[in-house]
Symmetry: C2
Subunit: 100 residues, 2 copies
């Protein structure tokens, strides 16, 4: 209760979009300046849904600060060869309010 | 044959990632300075796969110039009420080479 968190991170999984929207809003209401929404693979489109719902429906003063994409290499199970599986990632950083 | 195209656009659908990767490479080899990869809904994760494969595996001098997200409103069929369906969109702009 001594000041809010500076940052929050929300990792997107398979739950409904609104669960993650609520998590973002909770971070901002707790004093977070920035919230990062992270996802990989098929959850990526849900991450964008979350960002869009947060800023258009609930917190109009929230802007997108940055969107980064990347690739994670997942190690294969033993006996399946040594080629790694690549999975795409996204990180959407939302920022609240006063800065340009 | 009189100079290349300045820009290309690749709309991501349900085909394999490599089809769209080839489309991007073809634009760049034809002289395009920028190629926009556009997707919406569940195709968004494939759009990121395409961008990652193009720049990491085939064209290391290609950089991400910008990533934008948005929402498209799809009109409902008649008789299903007048609420529109919202679908998230992404546009990844790749740029080749020399500029910072």
């Amino acid at each position: 209760m001594t000041g809010g968190n500076e940052n929050g991170a929300v990792l997107i999984g398979k739950k409904p979009v609104m669960n993650y929207v609520l998590a973002c809003i909770t971070f901002f209401h707790g004093g977070a300046k920035e919230v990062s929404i992270k996802a990989r693979g098929r959850s990526i489109s849900r991450a964008i849904d979350v960002a869009e719902v947060v800023r258009h429906r609930f917190l109009p003063d929230v802007k997108i600060k940055n969107i980064g994409i990347g690739t994670d290499k997942l190690p294969q199970e033993e006996g399946e060869g040594d080629s790694a599986i690549n999975v795409s990632t996204i990180e959407i950083t939302l920022v609240r309010g006063t800065m340009q």
